[in-house]
Point group: C2
Chain length 518, copies 2
């Protein structure tokens, strides 16, 4: 049957409402011009008889509800009156678990007359397939919904596809975080890296150390994340198949910690007297490690994911250098004047604390660079600019896993149309064995908070983060052309707008449904 | 009486909740630490007995309603139970008119116990004073509203303080325009320059030439401004004391016009045959001027303001050069090979058409640069980068009025914190007489639409446009320090956020009331 093309300049986009319109691009698909009308009144999601998950599977039941309204944003009379069923079959009924580093996200989607079959090993794979199915559905000019005959076999290129939000430099209301999780799922991101505390504020309300937020947050009541807020974020993320990884960055980036925990930070000296200012966490006091052990014990139980981010970046040594107790400790330990040894000593202790809690730790590349005993490290996040692939190579040569963030610092001001810069990133373009390349477990978009809060987060993040998402999910060979990606990304951006996400425009043009909020 | 200072890091801001917190800075004020509690249940706006405007004055009655909710965003029990009245007195009951180029915006505001007196020559001045009063009111930590004893004498430095929105490169829903008008009034902008049509689309639905939008808009039904939409914008703007100036830019920037008006654009030639593409408006056909006369007649009646913007920028001569009819006309007119003469000929005709309609025309600086008979011009808008004050000087030397836009191209990507670039602009820092400097009637913030639509307009515009607003309203000597402006602008930005305007953050920090939307 023939396609009804829209009028005017929208025709370029409407011709994409077949499988090419899926973002990020599935690994393998076969589409057809054969199409089936969908009638919201006769559209069903169902569990296949052989599916391990059946009704009452929390993840999928919730997903069916969400995707019904995402697929049918407005009702029309509809020309199709035959029923259409999306039948889900999963191998494991992991409905009440959390997604983890080993979760398969593979799925197979087969759309034919009256039915779509969605097969996946896990419910997380089924979620990815539902997202794809929802992007396959389109409306003609009369409002009727259609989906084309399609075959898709899909799986992510990288296991770790993250977005970092910074809730310390500006506080982000929980609603803004939840909305970002929604948008992440639309681009098949699967990790929310919550850079929850830093120098400017400590919004995490700790059960063990409530003073940290009551004195370290911007405001003790309105600018904090309660235990219930955190649970809400984790639970919302779970239903989208997204892991939540908290970062409690130390020993630097901890100014706000000092307000609620005396003796934690290093007192800086001017000559022989304390100057009244404080530096990084004090690495010489046993009380520091007792505090950290208790804090990380709590954090490990609050955040179910097996990964935890320990930070370790940008430690300024000048305060340590000024402090006589620190200098004495350096001498005692035989560190000479090399403060990187002190930092490594500190990080090793923190890594051991979290290892004992059965957590896999991520550290920023600084720790890898300074650390001599690299075998205690697990995952290194590469963030510095310059030759970041050189660093990636060094890390995998040491046998450690890598997350790449350097090319995806989206908080940097810049024109929307530089999305191509985030698209044309080749994370594996370094000399290495197949085994070494497998150590690159993924990448991360970083949205630091210096100039970002709930007023501008969404347009700064989307659709540029979606460019990174395709790099992390899709086959590199099929997605190497910026020119081919451009109209697809424009189309996808309009889908985001239709779903209520304030994704910025890429260039002159329009969406059939413009953003209607104010 | 003593001030209750807020806790933690918000104290730096809360100390500003006196008159220094008014943005843009009033010309003259005296504030006091003496403060009066305000109880929403006993707070009244009233007309002074000597006021020319009395009850049923549309502009002020509507302003009273708006400002009541702006002043009291939430109700509290309030400790004050004595009544407080803001008494307005204006010299002219210009309640049903439109603000114009000569409207006085001067006001005097005197706040004392139980009463504030607001005196102004016009209702437009009264609106500016109400805005100021609303910014003087603050809440203590217990939610009680206060206003300090204050004396303010205020008037704008420049008569023309505009914002340009471009609704051609992206369509902006009417709601987004109305919301921008609200935010404009908060910064005391008084001109909305509506760059309504351009190459990519023609969303203005003309009564005389309906085909212009039905074929030239992105979509003939959903991406247009009906006559009723335009009336709504003008009426909303009027109630804020904002003029609406339409721009119908020609002869360049008219690709979208050609779709609905055949023979309007110049057919381009490749060698001796038409190439099928079109260039600027065809200046050699009498039908062109008949069309323009009818279009501008309609536009002049739809938009009540006495100014109209005729564009005239960036005309590409290559298509004119290729066209044999245009070349023949050039020869007949004795223009030689100088196409700027042809452009000047065209613009002169358009200026004459609008003069006959009793409109003052604004043109982009290109027209001034090319025009030999400058006496037919009135107002020149300087937009090119480089030495823009050199151009300002040339224009005032020719005795023409100037609007300065060059330093305020806010659509340009860039960090929020470059607000200082828009603040440190000195529009009169050129050699000239007092009379010549008076010819600089104001300035304009330009928000071009290549990368901007309703998803990101607001955070890109605010609070950076507010930096320009203070430059255009306030005394230059009192507002020359970026360091002094910074905390005031941060405070003002939080006021915008509290009013529901998604104004971006300037730097690390927080607002007492963060943006709550998603």
């Amino acid at each position: 049957s023939s396609r009804v093309s829209s009028s005017g300049s929208s025709s370029a986009l409407s011709s994409l409402h077949t499988v090419e319109g899926v973002w990020p691009l599935p690994q393998s698909f076969t589409s057809s011009t054969e199409r089936y009308p969908l009638n919201p009144k006769a559209f069903y999601f169902g569990y296949g008889r052989q599916s391990a998950a059946q009704q009452d599977c929390s993840v999928l039941d919730a997903a069916f509800k969400r995707y019904f309204s995402l697929i049918f944003p407005d009702y029309t009379s509809g020309s199709g009156d035959k029923p259409f069923t999306v039948e889900i079959r999963v191998d494991h009924a992991d409905c009440d678990s959390y997604p983890n580093e080993n979760s398969s996200e593979r799925y197979n989607l087969s759309v034919s007359a009256g039915q779509a079959s969605l097969n996946a090993e896990t419910v997380w794979g089924a979620l990815r397939g539902l997202e794809t199915f929802s992007q396959l559905v389109y409306q003609d000019d009369f409002g009727t919904y259609f989906v084309n005959k399609t075959e898709i076999d899909d799986f992510p290129r990288f296991q770790f596809r993250g977005i970092l939000l910074d809730t310390s430099r500006h506080y982000l209301p929980v609603q803004a975080i939840l909305k970002t999780l929604d948008a992440m799922a639309y681009s098949k991101f699967n990790v929310f890296h919550w850079h929850i505390v830093d120098d400017p504020s400590f919004p995490y309300q700790s059960r063990t150390f409530p003073d940290l937020s009551s004195t370290g947050a911007f405001h003790p009541m309105t600018h904090i994340y309660t235990q219930s807020d955190v649970r809400r974020v984790i639970s919302h993320a779970r239903l989208w198949g997204i892991r939540v990884l908290p970062e409690f960055d130390s020993p630097g980036h901890t100014q706000s910690w000092g307000k609620g925990q005396s003796d934690l930070l290093t007192p800086c000296y001017r000559g022989s007297t304390p100057s009244g200012t404080f530096g990084p966490v004090n690495p010489v006091l046993p009380s520091t490690y007792q505090f950290m052990a208790r804090l990380f014990k709590e954090v490990s139980s609050v955040f179910p994911d097996s990964y935890i981010h320990l930070g370790g970046d940008e430690v300024d040594f000048s305060c340590w250098k000024s402090n006589p107790d620190v200098r004495a400790f350096m001498q005692k330990m035989g560190f000479g004047g090399d403060f990187t040894k002190l930092e490594a000593f500190y990080m090793e202790k923190i890594v051991n604390i979290t290892s004992a809690l059965k957590k896999t730790s991520i550290v920023w590349q600084d720790v890898f660079d300074y650390h001599e005993r690299r075998s205690s490290l697990s995952v290194v996040e590469v963030w510095r600019h310059g030759c970041y692939l050189c660093e990636v190579r060094r890390v995998v040569n040491a046998g450690l896993r890598v997350i790449l963030a350097s090319p995806w610092y989206l908080d940097q001001p810049g024109p929307t149309h530089n999305w191509a810069r985030y698209y044309t990133v080749w994370p594996l373009a370094f000399k290495g064995t197949e085994e070494q390349k497998k150590l690159v477990i993924g990448g991360e978009v970083c949205m630091w908070g210096e100039y970002v809060d709930a007023t501008n987060l969404t347009p700064r993040l989307w659709p540029r983060a979606s460019a990174a998402a395709e790099r992390l999910w899709s086959d590199e060979k099929q997605t190497s052309s910026v020119d081919e990606a451009f109209p697809r990304l424009q189309d996808f951006r309009c889908k985001l707008v239709r779903r209520g996400i304030r994704a910025e425009p890429l260039h002159v043009g329009h969406c059939k449904h413009e953003y209607q909020g104010v």
